[in-house]
Amino acid sequence: MNCNEAGMLVAKYADGEVDSLQGRSIEQHLRGCAACAAKHQDLLALRAQIGAEVPYFTATPELRERVRALLANAQDTARARPRPKRDRWGWLTGGFVAGCAATLLAWGVGTTVIAWRANEDVAVEAVATHVRATLNNHLIQVASSDQHTVKPWLSARLDYSPPVQDLASEGFALTGGRLDMLNKQRVATLVYSRRLHTIDVFVRPESAPAPSTLRTVRGFNVVHATGSGMDWIAVSDVSADELTQFVQRLAQQTATP
């Protein structure tokens, strides 16, 4: 060890802060180096002098008494008032936040699942209704290719008036309309024919805006669209592309003569 290395260690040694290994090497150095040994002695002398001459102030009895009274007083008021007020609020706030988060999460998941299930149900129900109507041959309650006949007929039997449009020029001829129950709700059903295919379009007031979706249930294509304030659910065995185009065309209601 040289004097450079010893420099910081001398103070540590004088303060009793060296470990046994450092202690041994510094002792060895101090034995051989008069300069560092003198530094060490000087430091010890200074420490001793400080210990002897620099007073350690102790609290006066008055201060001691005042502090005691202060603490007793504080403890009394703390005891009178249920003390861990802050803690209790902390818990309450934490619990409240956690509860809210859990509720929101449950609600979010619940509504998502319900919405998904409802979609599923509506599609399945729409196909079932379509099939039943086809089998029973009671597709049409009001047979007309005239939208001005079908629309008032439906409006008279519903609490809303579905937009009705004949798209014969585009190959989708209106053949009539009927009433159905869909999702425990009375809905207007518009019946169109496309070549030899029959298309049922269930129209009900829009519940929530939803993107167009296409599903296939038991071989039938079900296309769901929203527009003109209505939900449009078309069921048919025509190709998915045609049906999608058709239902979007209906929902947009671009040309109403």
């Binding site: 910081m8 103070a11 540590k12 303060d15 802060e17 300069a35 560092c36 040994a37 003198a38 530094k39 060490h40 002695q41 000087d42 430091l43 200074l46 420490r47 002098q49 400080i50 210990g51 002897a52 001459e53 620099v54 007073p55 350690y56 102030f57 102790t58 609290a59 006066t60 201060l63 001691r64 005042r66 502090v67 005691r68 202060l70 603490l71 504080a74 403890q75």
Partner: protein, 168 residues
Amino acid sequence: MPHLDAGYNLARWLTRDVHDAEDVVQDACMRALKYVGTLRDGAARAWFLTIVRHAFYDWCGRNRPAEILKDDGTAIDMAADETAMGPEQAALRSSESRVLADAVAELPLVFREVLVLRELEELSYKEIARIADIPVGTVMSRLARARSLLRRSPLLHSIRGRTSGGEQ
């Protein structure tokens, strides 16, 4: 309040005033009551001294903001020279044993607190580091600086008369 004396001693050396020290200690006691939950076993004295020190710095910020400003390294030498007395002034003072105590009291704050914690409270470097919220290395360098400032103090030279033999 078993560590009241330790707290008072620190406050007394930091404020260098009897009444201010009492104010700081009382404030610290109220804080200690509030934060008693943060007390770890076996370190009650260091814990209380930490609180006293915080109470002092808050008090100092309110009452003597200039003193805290000297905390930055560049001001150290200036501060030391300002606060140190000229030799003739020192000679005028009684050459009794209060001289060294006065020299300690005139150390800049950052050195004074480390020196007091080490020499009067006899705390380890580690404990001092925790109380003063500085690294152990800084404790060592401040302590070394505090001691060299004490040795250089004109107050002391007029009394001790001898130079330290080890210095080249």
